[in-house]
Protein backbone atom coordinates (compact mmCIF):
# COMPACT_ATOMS: atom_id res chain seq x y z
CA UNK A 1 0.00 0.00 0.00
CA UNK A 2 1.67 3.22 -1.19
CA UNK A 3 1.77 5.99 1.42
CA UNK A 4 2.54 9.69 1.71
CA UNK A 5 5.15 11.03 4.19
CA UNK A 6 2.47 11.82 6.74
CA UNK A 7 0.83 8.43 6.37
CA UNK A 8 4.16 6.64 6.92
CA UNK A 9 4.86 8.59 10.11
CA UNK A 10 1.36 7.92 11.43
CA UNK A 11 1.54 4.20 10.57
CA UNK A 12 4.79 3.88 12.51
CA UNK A 13 3.38 5.80 15.49
CA UNK A 14 0.30 3.58 15.51
CA UNK A 15 2.35 0.38 15.28
CA UNK A 16 0.84 -0.52 11.92
CA UNK A 17 2.43 -1.80 8.70
CA UNK A 18 0.42 0.65 6.67
CA UNK A 19 -2.50 3.04 6.93
CA UNK A 20 -4.84 4.54 4.37
CA UNK A 21 -6.61 7.87 4.13
CA UNK A 22 -9.76 8.03 6.23
CA UNK A 23 -8.65 5.33 8.68
CA UNK A 24 -8.95 6.20 12.39
CA UNK A 25 -5.83 5.36 14.36
CA UNK A 26 -4.44 5.73 17.87
CA UNK A 27 -0.87 7.05 17.70
CA UNK A 28 1.93 7.29 20.26
CA UNK A 29 3.07 10.87 20.78
CA UNK A 30 6.65 12.15 20.81
CA UNK A 31 5.69 15.47 22.40
CA UNK A 32 2.64 17.29 23.80
CA UNK A 33 2.71 21.10 23.81
CA UNK A 34 0.67 23.81 25.49
CA UNK A 35 0.85 27.57 26.14
CA UNK A 36 -0.48 29.97 28.77
CA UNK A 37 -3.90 30.27 27.09
CA UNK A 38 -4.61 26.63 26.25
CA UNK A 39 -2.86 24.83 29.13
CA UNK A 40 -5.07 26.09 32.02
CA UNK A 41 -8.23 24.41 30.66
CA UNK A 42 -6.11 21.33 29.83
CA UNK A 43 -4.94 21.18 33.46
CA UNK A 44 -8.57 21.23 34.61
CA UNK A 45 -9.50 18.40 32.21
CA UNK A 46 -6.32 16.50 33.14
CA UNK A 47 -7.45 16.61 36.78
CA UNK A 48 -10.78 15.00 35.86
CA UNK A 49 -9.01 11.97 34.36
CA UNK A 50 -7.59 11.10 37.76
CA UNK A 51 -4.42 9.48 36.45
CA UNK A 52 -2.07 10.98 39.04
CA UNK A 53 0.67 12.31 36.86
CA UNK A 54 1.71 12.78 33.24
CA UNK A 55 2.71 9.91 30.93
CA UNK A 56 6.30 11.17 30.53
CA UNK A 57 7.59 14.40 32.04
CA UNK A 58 10.28 14.70 29.35
CA UNK A 59 7.69 14.62 26.54
CA UNK A 60 5.61 17.62 27.55
CA UNK A 61 6.50 21.20 26.69
CA UNK A 62 4.80 24.13 28.40
CA UNK A 63 5.57 27.56 26.98
CA UNK A 64 3.90 30.66 28.46
CA UNK A 65 4.22 32.90 25.40
CA UNK A 66 0.84 34.41 24.52
CA UNK A 67 0.00 36.97 27.21
CA UNK A 68 3.49 37.08 28.77
CA UNK A 69 5.22 38.87 30.39
CA UNK A 70 1.73 38.97 31.86
CA UNK A 71 -0.46 41.78 30.64
CA UNK A 72 -2.99 41.80 33.46
CA UNK A 73 -4.02 40.03 36.66
CA UNK A 74 -6.14 37.38 34.95
CA UNK A 75 -3.37 36.40 32.53
CA UNK A 76 -0.92 36.31 35.46
CA UNK A 77 -3.26 33.89 37.23
CA UNK A 78 -3.36 31.68 34.14
CA UNK A 79 0.44 31.67 33.82
CA UNK A 80 0.68 30.86 37.52
CA UNK A 81 -1.58 27.85 37.06
CA UNK A 82 0.73 26.55 34.32
CA UNK A 83 3.86 27.25 36.40
CA UNK A 84 2.45 25.39 39.42
CA UNK A 85 1.41 22.42 37.28
CA UNK A 86 4.88 22.25 35.72
CA UNK A 87 6.47 22.26 39.15
CA UNK A 88 4.08 19.70 40.64
CA UNK A 89 4.60 17.25 37.77
CA UNK A 90 8.31 18.05 37.30
CA UNK A 91 7.78 18.93 33.64
CA UNK A 92 11.28 19.05 32.14
CA UNK A 93 10.46 21.42 29.32
CA UNK A 94 8.78 24.33 31.04
CA UNK A 95 10.21 27.63 29.83
CA UNK A 96 9.84 30.62 32.13
CA UNK A 97 9.97 34.22 30.93
CA UNK A 98 13.69 34.78 30.40
CA UNK A 99 14.15 31.37 28.78
CA UNK A 100 10.98 31.18 26.79
CA UNK A 101 10.27 32.30 23.28
CA UNK A 102 7.34 31.93 20.93
CA UNK A 103 6.60 28.22 21.20
CA UNK A 104 6.93 27.25 17.53
CA UNK A 105 10.24 29.03 17.15
CA UNK A 106 11.47 27.77 20.52
CA UNK A 107 10.83 24.03 20.27
CA UNK A 108 12.89 23.36 17.12
CA UNK A 109 15.65 25.63 18.44
CA UNK A 110 15.73 23.64 21.70
CA UNK A 111 15.94 20.43 19.69
CA UNK A 112 12.68 19.08 21.09
CA UNK A 113 11.29 18.11 17.69
CA UNK A 114 13.06 16.11 14.98
CA UNK A 115 12.13 14.33 11.76
CA UNK A 116 9.71 11.43 12.16
CA UNK A 117 8.22 12.73 15.44
CA UNK A 118 4.48 12.87 16.11
CA UNK A 119 3.62 16.07 17.96
CA UNK A 120 0.34 17.53 19.15
CA UNK A 121 0.10 21.03 20.53
CA UNK A 122 -2.79 23.00 21.93
CA UNK A 123 -2.06 25.76 19.47
CA UNK A 124 -3.12 25.75 15.84
CA UNK A 125 0.33 26.66 14.55
CA UNK A 126 1.84 23.47 15.92
CA UNK A 127 1.97 22.43 12.25
CA UNK A 128 5.23 24.47 12.05
CA UNK A 129 7.43 21.43 12.85
CA UNK A 130 6.55 19.84 9.53
CA UNK A 131 9.50 21.89 8.28
CA UNK A 132 11.69 19.29 10.03
CA UNK A 133 9.93 16.31 8.47
CA UNK A 134 7.83 15.67 11.57
CA UNK A 135 4.08 15.14 11.76
CA UNK A 136 2.73 17.88 13.99
CA UNK A 137 -0.73 19.27 14.34
CA UNK A 138 -2.82 21.60 16.46
CA UNK A 139 -5.46 20.31 18.85
CA UNK A 140 -7.55 21.75 21.66
CA UNK A 141 -7.05 21.71 25.41
CA UNK A 142 -8.98 18.48 26.00
CA UNK A 143 -6.85 16.59 23.47
CA UNK A 144 -3.79 18.07 25.17
CA UNK A 145 -5.04 16.81 28.55
CA UNK A 146 -5.65 13.34 27.14
CA UNK A 147 -2.22 13.41 25.49
CA UNK A 148 -0.49 14.40 28.74
CA UNK A 149 -2.28 11.58 30.57
CA UNK A 150 -1.97 8.76 28.04
CA UNK A 151 0.80 9.73 25.60
CA UNK A 152 -1.58 8.98 22.77
CA UNK A 153 -3.97 10.77 20.45
CA UNK A 154 -6.51 9.63 17.87
CA UNK A 155 -6.18 10.78 14.29
CA UNK A 156 -8.05 10.34 11.07
CA UNK A 157 -5.35 9.53 8.52
CA UNK A 158 -5.35 12.46 6.08
CA UNK A 159 -5.28 12.59 2.30
CA UNK A 160 -2.59 14.84 0.89
CA UNK A 161 -1.93 17.61 -1.59
CA UNK A 162 1.59 17.44 -3.03
CA UNK A 163 3.49 20.64 -3.85
CA UNK A 164 6.34 20.12 -6.32
CA UNK A 165 8.70 23.04 -6.06
CA UNK A 166 11.16 24.01 -8.78
CA UNK A 167 13.41 27.04 -9.30
CA UNK A 168 14.48 29.58 -6.70
CA UNK A 169 12.77 32.54 -5.04
CA UNK A 170 13.77 35.99 -6.31
CA UNK A 171 15.57 38.53 -4.17
CA UNK A 172 13.29 40.07 -1.51
CA UNK A 173 10.73 37.30 -2.08
CA UNK A 174 10.46 34.86 0.82
CA UNK A 175 8.72 31.78 2.15
CA UNK A 176 5.94 34.05 3.44
CA UNK A 177 5.15 35.19 -0.09
CA UNK A 178 5.07 31.56 -1.22
CA UNK A 179 2.65 30.37 1.46
CA UNK A 180 0.37 33.42 1.00
CA UNK A 181 0.49 32.77 -2.75
CA UNK A 182 -0.53 29.13 -2.14
CA UNK A 183 -3.36 30.05 0.27
CA UNK A 184 -4.57 32.58 -2.28
CA UNK A 185 -4.58 29.81 -4.87
CA UNK A 186 -6.35 27.07 -2.88
CA UNK A 187 -8.34 29.10 -0.32
CA UNK A 188 -8.66 29.01 3.47
CA UNK A 189 -10.33 25.61 3.25
CA UNK A 190 -8.35 24.40 0.23
CA UNK A 191 -6.54 21.75 2.26
CA UNK A 192 -9.28 21.06 4.83
CA UNK A 193 -8.47 17.87 6.81
CA UNK A 194 -5.51 17.20 4.46
CA UNK A 195 -1.72 17.18 4.56
CA UNK A 196 0.25 19.67 2.50
CA UNK A 197 3.40 17.82 1.45
CA UNK A 198 6.30 19.84 0.02
CA UNK A 199 9.09 18.45 -2.10
CA UNK A 200 10.88 18.81 -5.43
CA UNK A 201 14.30 20.16 -6.31
CA UNK A 202 13.27 23.77 -5.60
CA UNK A 203 12.70 22.85 -1.97
CA UNK A 204 16.45 22.59 -1.38
CA UNK A 205 16.86 26.30 -2.15
CA UNK A 206 14.56 27.26 0.73
CA UNK A 207 16.20 28.08 4.06
CA UNK A 208 15.00 26.27 7.20
CA UNK A 209 13.47 29.55 8.40
CA UNK A 210 11.49 29.80 5.15
CA UNK A 211 10.30 26.22 5.60
CA UNK A 212 9.16 26.94 9.17
CA UNK A 213 7.18 29.93 7.86
CA UNK A 214 5.54 27.84 5.14
CA UNK A 215 4.65 24.85 7.34
CA UNK A 216 3.45 27.26 10.04
CA UNK A 217 0.68 28.62 7.82
CA UNK A 218 -0.58 25.25 6.51
CA UNK A 219 -3.41 25.65 9.04
CA UNK A 220 -4.43 28.84 7.23
CA UNK A 221 -5.43 26.63 4.29
CA UNK A 222 -7.31 24.38 6.71
CA UNK A 223 -4.63 21.67 6.56
CA UNK A 224 -4.07 19.08 9.26
CA UNK A 225 -0.33 19.42 8.75
CA UNK A 226 2.30 20.73 6.39
CA UNK A 227 5.44 18.68 5.89
CA UNK A 228 8.73 18.96 4.02
CA UNK A 229 11.02 16.21 2.80
CA UNK A 230 14.22 15.90 4.81
CA UNK A 231 17.37 17.11 3.04
CA UNK A 232 20.90 18.20 3.97
CA UNK A 233 19.66 21.51 5.38
CA UNK A 234 17.23 19.68 7.68
CA UNK A 235 19.94 17.25 8.82
CA UNK A 236 22.35 20.10 9.49
CA UNK A 237 19.70 21.99 11.48
CA UNK A 238 18.88 18.94 13.60
CA UNK A 239 22.57 18.20 14.14
CA UNK A 240 23.09 21.73 15.43
CA UNK A 241 20.06 21.81 17.71
CA UNK A 242 19.21 18.32 18.88
CA UNK A 243 20.68 15.13 20.22
CA UNK A 244 17.44 13.23 19.62
CA UNK A 245 17.46 10.38 17.14
CA UNK A 246 15.50 11.17 14.03
CA UNK A 247 13.88 9.09 11.30
CA UNK A 248 13.51 10.26 7.72
CA UNK A 249 10.39 9.30 5.82
CA UNK A 250 9.91 9.74 2.10
CA UNK A 251 6.64 9.31 0.26
CA UNK A 252 6.29 6.26 -1.94
CA UNK A 253 6.63 7.09 -5.62
CA UNK A 254 3.13 5.84 -6.27
CA UNK A 255 1.59 7.52 -3.19
CA UNK A 256 -1.86 8.91 -3.93
CA UNK A 257 -2.51 12.65 -3.81
CA UNK A 258 -5.85 14.37 -4.18
CA UNK A 259 -3.99 17.05 -6.09
CA UNK A 260 -0.44 17.76 -7.28
CA UNK A 261 0.48 21.43 -7.62
CA UNK A 262 3.68 22.48 -9.42
CA UNK A 263 5.19 25.78 -8.36
CA UNK A 264 8.14 27.51 -10.01
CA UNK A 265 9.62 29.51 -7.13
CA UNK A 266 11.15 32.05 -9.52
CA UNK A 267 7.62 33.07 -10.53
CA UNK A 268 6.31 33.63 -6.99
CA UNK A 269 5.47 37.34 -6.62
CA UNK A 270 5.36 39.53 -3.51
CA UNK A 271 2.07 38.56 -1.95
CA UNK A 272 0.01 40.32 0.70
CA UNK A 273 -3.22 38.96 2.21
CA UNK A 274 -5.77 41.76 2.48
CA UNK A 275 -8.38 41.87 5.27
CA UNK A 276 -10.11 39.80 6.54
CA UNK A 277 -8.98 36.38 5.28
CA UNK A 278 -5.53 34.93 4.54
CA UNK A 279 -6.85 33.84 1.12
CA UNK A 280 -7.31 37.45 -0.03
CA UNK A 281 -3.87 37.33 -1.64
CA UNK A 282 -2.88 40.25 -3.85
CA UNK A 283 0.25 41.02 -5.85
CA UNK A 284 1.74 44.57 -5.92
CA UNK A 285 -0.18 45.61 -9.07
CA UNK A 286 -3.39 45.15 -7.07
CA UNK A 287 -2.34 46.75 -3.80
CA UNK A 288 -3.50 50.26 -4.62
CA UNK A 289 -2.85 53.02 -2.11
CA UNK A 290 -3.12 51.48 1.36
CA UNK A 291 -2.03 53.95 4.03
CA UNK A 292 -0.93 52.34 7.27
CA UNK A 293 -0.43 53.17 10.95
CA UNK A 294 1.76 50.31 12.17
CA UNK A 295 4.03 47.49 11.11
CA UNK A 296 4.63 44.34 13.15
CA UNK A 297 7.61 42.08 12.48
CA UNK A 298 7.58 38.91 14.55
CA UNK A 299 5.35 35.95 15.56
CA UNK A 300 5.73 32.18 15.20
CA UNK A 301 5.47 32.78 11.46
CA UNK A 302 8.19 35.41 10.94
CA UNK A 303 10.10 36.16 14.13
CA UNK A 304 13.23 34.17 13.35
CA UNK A 305 16.72 35.50 12.75
CA UNK A 306 16.46 35.55 8.95
CA UNK A 307 13.20 37.49 9.22
CA UNK A 308 14.80 40.16 11.40
CA UNK A 309 17.83 40.30 9.12
CA UNK A 310 15.61 40.65 6.05
CA UNK A 311 13.82 43.59 7.67
CA UNK A 312 17.14 45.15 8.73
CA UNK A 313 18.51 44.86 5.19
CA UNK A 314 15.59 46.94 3.93
CA UNK A 315 15.75 49.43 6.80
CA UNK A 316 19.53 49.95 6.95
CA UNK A 317 20.25 53.67 6.65
CA UNK A 318 16.56 54.49 6.30
CA UNK A 319 13.93 55.74 8.71
CA UNK A 320 10.48 54.52 9.60
CA UNK A 321 8.13 57.25 8.40
CA UNK A 322 7.03 59.77 10.99
CA UNK A 323 3.85 58.70 12.73
CA UNK A 324 4.21 55.01 11.90
CA UNK A 325 4.78 52.58 14.78
CA UNK A 326 7.20 49.77 13.91
CA UNK A 327 7.25 46.96 16.47
CA UNK A 328 9.71 44.06 16.23
CA UNK A 329 9.45 40.81 18.20
CA UNK A 330 12.47 38.50 18.16
CA UNK A 331 10.75 35.11 18.54
CA UNK A 332 13.15 33.68 21.14
CA UNK A 333 15.97 34.75 23.45
CA UNK A 334 18.45 33.06 21.10
CA UNK A 335 17.10 35.01 18.12
CA UNK A 336 17.32 38.18 20.21
CA UNK A 337 20.94 37.49 21.18
CA UNK A 338 21.97 36.66 17.62
CA UNK A 339 20.29 39.81 16.36
CA UNK A 340 22.14 41.88 18.94
CA UNK A 341 25.47 40.22 18.17
CA UNK A 342 25.31 40.79 14.41
CA UNK A 343 24.06 44.36 14.61
CA UNK A 344 20.55 43.64 13.33
CA UNK A 345 18.90 45.06 16.44
CA UNK A 346 20.94 48.28 16.25
CA UNK A 347 19.99 48.74 12.60
CA UNK A 348 16.31 48.29 13.45
CA UNK A 349 16.44 50.66 16.42
CA UNK A 350 18.29 53.31 14.43
CA UNK A 351 15.62 53.08 11.77
CA UNK A 352 13.01 53.84 14.43
CA UNK A 353 11.71 50.39 15.37
CA UNK A 354 10.89 49.42 18.93
CA UNK A 355 12.08 45.98 20.04
CA UNK A 356 9.87 43.87 22.31
CA UNK A 357 10.57 40.87 24.48
CA UNK A 358 9.58 37.58 22.78
CA UNK A 359 5.78 37.18 22.92
CA UNK A 360 2.86 36.42 20.61
CA UNK A 361 1.67 39.88 21.66
CA UNK A 362 -0.44 41.70 19.08
CA UNK A 363 -0.68 38.79 16.63
CA UNK A 364 -3.83 37.58 18.37
CA UNK A 365 -4.80 40.94 19.82
CA UNK A 366 -3.22 40.19 23.18
CA UNK A 367 -0.99 43.16 23.98
CA UNK A 368 2.04 45.18 22.78
CA UNK A 369 0.56 46.82 19.71
CA UNK A 370 -3.24 46.62 19.69
CA UNK A 371 -5.01 48.61 16.95
CA UNK A 372 -7.66 51.29 17.42
CA UNK A 373 -10.73 51.72 15.22
CA UNK A 374 -9.82 52.55 11.64
CA UNK A 375 -6.12 51.71 12.01
CA UNK A 376 -4.19 49.53 9.57
CA UNK A 377 -1.20 47.31 10.20
CA UNK A 378 1.13 45.51 7.79
CA UNK A 379 2.09 42.48 9.79
CA UNK A 380 4.30 39.43 9.35
CA UNK A 381 1.86 37.42 11.49
CA UNK A 382 -0.50 34.71 10.25
CA UNK A 383 -4.12 35.82 10.57
CA UNK A 384 -6.02 38.89 9.47
CA UNK A 385 -9.49 37.94 10.70
CA UNK A 386 -11.93 40.64 11.75
CA UNK A 387 -10.74 42.15 15.03
CA UNK A 388 -7.70 39.87 15.20
CA UNK A 389 -5.24 42.61 16.26
CA UNK A 390 -7.66 44.85 18.10
CA UNK A 391 -10.73 46.89 17.22
CA UNK A 392 -13.22 45.26 14.83
CA UNK A 393 -12.81 48.26 12.56
CA UNK A 394 -9.02 47.83 12.33
CA UNK A 395 -7.32 46.03 9.46
CA UNK A 396 -4.38 43.61 9.21
CA UNK A 397 -2.43 43.06 5.99
CA UNK A 398 -0.35 39.88 6.13
CA UNK A 399 3.05 40.25 4.50
CA UNK A 400 6.70 39.20 4.47
CA UNK A 401 9.27 40.98 6.69
CA UNK A 402 10.65 42.65 3.54
CA UNK A 403 7.27 44.11 2.55
CA UNK A 404 6.44 45.10 6.14
CA UNK A 405 9.78 46.93 6.50
CA UNK A 406 9.42 48.72 3.15
CA UNK A 407 5.87 49.74 4.11
CA UNK A 408 7.18 51.18 7.37
CA UNK A 409 9.48 53.47 5.42
CA UNK A 410 6.81 54.83 3.07
CA UNK A 411 3.79 54.68 5.37
CA UNK A 412 1.83 52.68 2.82
CA UNK A 413 1.82 49.15 1.51
CA UNK A 414 5.05 48.98 -0.51
CA UNK A 415 7.14 46.40 -2.38
CA UNK A 416 10.82 46.40 -1.29
CA UNK A 417 12.07 47.15 -4.83
CA UNK A 418 10.35 50.53 -4.73
CA UNK A 419 12.73 51.80 -2.07
CA UNK A 420 15.88 49.73 -2.66
Amino acid sequence: MAMTMTQKILAKAAGLESVKAGELIMANLSLVLGNDITTPPAITEFGKIGCGTVFDRSKIALVPDHFTPNKDIKSAEQAKKVRCFAKEHEIENYFEVGQMGIEHALLPEKGLVVAGDVVIGADSHTCTYGALGAFSTGVGSTDMAAGMATGKAWFKVPEAIRFNLTGKLNKYVSGKDLILHIIGMIGVDGALYKSMEFGGEGMHTLSMDDRFTIANMAIEAGAKNGIFEVDDKTREYMKQHSSKQFTEYTADEDAEYVKVIDIDLSKVPHTVAFPHLPENARTPDNWGDVKIDQIVIGSCTNGRISDLRAAAEILKGKKIKDGIRAIVFPATQEVYKEAIADGTIMTLIEAGCVISTPTCGPCLGGHMGILAAGERCVSTTNRNFLGRMGHVESEVYLASPEVAAASGVTGKLTAPEEIM
Binding site: L24, I37, T38, P40, P41, T44, E45, K48, I49, G50, C51, H66, F67, K71, D72, K74, S75, Q78, G121, A122, D123, S124, T126, G138, V139, G140, S141, T142, D143, A145, A146, A149, T150, W154, V188, D189, L192, Y193, I219, G222, K224, L277, L364, G365, G366, R383, F385, L386, G387, R388, V392
Partner: protein
Protein backbone atom coordinates in the same frame (compact mmCIF):
# COMPACT_ATOMS: atom_id res chain seq x y z
CA UNK B 1 -31.36 12.16 21.79
CA UNK B 2 -33.13 15.08 20.18
CA UNK B 3 -32.74 18.85 20.05
CA UNK B 4 -35.27 21.44 18.97
CA UNK B 5 -34.79 25.15 18.63
CA UNK B 6 -34.79 28.35 16.70
CA UNK B 7 -31.97 28.98 14.17
CA UNK B 8 -29.34 31.70 14.37
CA UNK B 9 -27.52 31.73 11.05
CA UNK B 10 -24.05 32.87 9.94
CA UNK B 11 -22.00 32.60 6.74
CA UNK B 12 -18.79 30.86 5.60
CA UNK B 13 -15.42 30.82 7.42
CA UNK B 14 -16.71 31.78 10.85
CA UNK B 15 -13.37 31.89 12.66
CA UNK B 16 -12.59 31.28 16.32
CA UNK B 17 -11.47 34.91 16.74
CA UNK B 18 -15.00 36.12 16.09
CA UNK B 19 -16.59 33.27 18.06
CA UNK B 20 -14.58 34.41 21.09
CA UNK B 21 -12.06 37.24 20.62
CA UNK B 22 -8.61 36.69 22.16
CA UNK B 23 -9.03 39.75 24.39
CA UNK B 24 -11.33 37.57 26.52
CA UNK B 25 -8.98 34.58 26.73
CA UNK B 26 -7.60 35.62 30.10
CA UNK B 27 -10.27 33.26 31.43
CA UNK B 28 -11.61 29.85 30.46
CA UNK B 29 -14.72 30.08 32.64
CA UNK B 30 -17.64 29.08 30.35
CA UNK B 31 -20.18 31.59 31.70
CA UNK B 32 -17.77 34.51 31.26
CA UNK B 33 -16.83 33.44 27.73
CA UNK B 34 -20.51 33.17 26.78
CA UNK B 35 -21.00 36.86 27.61
CA UNK B 36 -18.80 37.77 24.59
CA UNK B 37 -19.65 34.99 22.15
CA UNK B 38 -19.90 36.19 18.51
CA UNK B 39 -19.80 39.87 19.56
CA UNK B 40 -17.38 41.02 16.85
CA UNK B 41 -19.71 39.95 14.04
CA UNK B 42 -23.06 40.00 15.84
CA UNK B 43 -23.55 42.25 18.84
CA UNK B 44 -27.15 41.01 19.19
CA UNK B 45 -26.27 37.33 19.66
CA UNK B 46 -25.67 37.35 23.41
CA UNK B 47 -28.93 39.23 24.05
CA UNK B 48 -31.17 37.12 21.85
CA UNK B 49 -29.82 33.55 22.07
CA UNK B 50 -32.18 31.22 23.96
CA UNK B 51 -31.39 27.87 25.53
CA UNK B 52 -31.77 25.17 22.88
CA UNK B 53 -31.25 27.47 19.88
CA UNK B 54 -29.39 25.99 16.93
CA UNK B 55 -26.48 27.71 15.19
CA UNK B 56 -26.11 27.20 11.43
CA UNK B 57 -22.96 28.15 9.55
CA UNK B 58 -21.57 27.70 6.04
CA UNK B 59 -18.23 26.23 4.96
CA UNK B 60 -15.14 25.89 7.18
CA UNK B 61 -16.91 26.76 10.43
CA UNK B 62 -14.52 27.35 13.34
CA UNK B 63 -11.39 28.01 11.29
CA UNK B 64 -8.37 29.64 12.88
CA UNK B 65 -6.98 29.10 16.32
CA UNK B 66 -7.15 25.95 18.40
CA UNK B 67 -8.85 27.69 21.32
CA UNK B 68 -11.30 25.30 22.91
CA UNK B 69 -12.80 28.44 24.41
CA UNK B 70 -14.72 28.80 21.09
CA UNK B 71 -16.95 25.69 21.31
CA UNK B 72 -17.10 26.21 25.11
CA UNK B 73 -18.48 29.75 24.58
CA UNK B 74 -21.05 28.50 22.06
CA UNK B 75 -22.15 25.66 24.33
CA UNK B 76 -22.35 27.92 27.38
CA UNK B 77 -24.52 30.34 25.39
CA UNK B 78 -27.19 27.66 25.34
CA UNK B 79 -26.75 26.54 21.72
CA UNK B 80 -27.86 22.91 21.46
CA UNK B 81 -26.17 22.06 18.16
CA UNK B 82 -24.09 23.64 15.38
CA UNK B 83 -24.88 22.64 11.82
CA UNK B 84 -22.44 23.60 9.03
CA UNK B 85 -21.46 22.60 5.52
CA UNK B 86 -18.14 21.53 7.04
CA UNK B 87 -15.98 22.36 10.04
CA UNK B 88 -12.32 23.31 10.44
CA UNK B 89 -10.66 20.23 11.86
CA UNK B 90 -9.50 21.51 15.26
CA UNK B 91 -12.93 22.99 16.00
CA UNK B 92 -14.46 19.67 14.94
CA UNK B 93 -12.27 17.73 17.40
CA UNK B 94 -12.81 20.24 20.18
CA UNK B 95 -16.60 20.19 19.81
CA UNK B 96 -16.68 16.38 19.96
CA UNK B 97 -14.25 16.34 22.89
CA UNK B 98 -16.21 18.82 25.03
CA UNK B 99 -19.64 17.47 24.11
CA UNK B 100 -20.99 20.26 21.88
CA UNK B 101 -23.16 18.47 19.29
CA UNK B 102 -22.21 19.33 15.70
CA UNK B 103 -23.49 18.06 12.36
CA UNK B 104 -22.08 18.39 8.84
CA UNK B 105 -24.83 18.82 6.25
CA UNK B 106 -24.38 21.01 3.15
CA UNK B 107 -28.07 20.89 2.22
CA UNK B 108 -29.25 21.98 5.67
CA UNK B 109 -26.58 24.70 5.78
CA UNK B 110 -27.86 26.14 2.49
CA UNK B 111 -31.60 25.68 2.96
CA UNK B 112 -32.17 26.67 6.58
CA UNK B 113 -32.80 30.36 7.19
CA UNK B 114 -32.40 32.57 10.23
CA UNK B 115 -35.38 32.10 12.55
CA UNK B 116 -36.46 28.70 11.19
CA UNK B 117 -37.54 26.18 13.80
CA UNK B 118 -35.49 23.02 13.47
CA UNK B 119 -35.57 19.60 15.13
CA UNK B 120 -32.58 17.26 15.17
CA UNK B 121 -32.57 13.52 15.81
CA UNK B 122 -28.97 12.73 16.75
CA UNK B 123 -29.52 8.97 16.53
CA UNK B 124 -30.48 9.08 12.85
CA UNK B 125 -28.76 12.35 11.83
CA UNK B 126 -32.06 13.62 10.41
CA UNK B 127 -32.52 17.40 10.59
CA UNK B 128 -36.14 18.51 10.23
CA UNK B 129 -36.97 22.09 9.29
CA UNK B 130 -40.39 22.53 10.95
CA UNK B 131 -40.85 26.01 9.48
CA UNK B 132 -40.25 24.91 5.87
CA UNK B 133 -41.53 21.36 6.39
CA UNK B 134 -38.39 19.81 4.89
CA UNK B 135 -35.78 17.41 6.17
CA UNK B 136 -32.08 16.82 5.52
CA UNK B 137 -29.72 13.93 6.28
CA UNK B 138 -26.47 14.80 8.07
CA UNK B 139 -23.29 12.75 7.68
CA UNK B 140 -23.03 9.96 10.27
CA UNK B 141 -20.17 9.90 12.77
CA UNK B 142 -17.85 6.89 12.63
CA UNK B 143 -18.38 4.48 15.58
CA UNK B 144 -15.17 5.66 17.30
CA UNK B 145 -16.44 9.23 17.51
CA UNK B 146 -19.91 8.06 18.49
CA UNK B 147 -18.30 6.37 21.49
CA UNK B 148 -16.72 9.69 22.57
CA UNK B 149 -20.03 11.47 22.08
CA UNK B 150 -22.08 8.92 24.01
CA UNK B 151 -19.52 8.80 26.83
CA UNK B 152 -20.03 12.57 27.20
CA UNK B 153 -16.69 13.70 25.78
CA UNK B 154 -13.10 12.50 25.49
CA UNK B 155 -12.19 12.78 29.19
CA UNK B 156 -15.25 10.75 30.21
CA UNK B 157 -14.31 8.10 27.64
CA UNK B 158 -10.74 7.84 28.96
CA UNK B 159 -12.11 7.49 32.50
CA UNK B 160 -14.40 4.68 31.33
CA UNK B 161 -11.44 2.87 29.79
CA UNK B 162 -9.23 3.11 32.87
Amino acid sequence: MKAKGCVIKYGDNIDTDVIIPARYLSTSEPGELALHCMEDIDKTFVGRVKKGDIMVGGANFGCGSSREHAPIAIKASGISCVIAKDFARIFFRNAINIGLPILECAQASEDIDEGDEVEIDFDTGVITNLTKNRSYQAAAFPPFMQEIISAGGLIAKIREEK
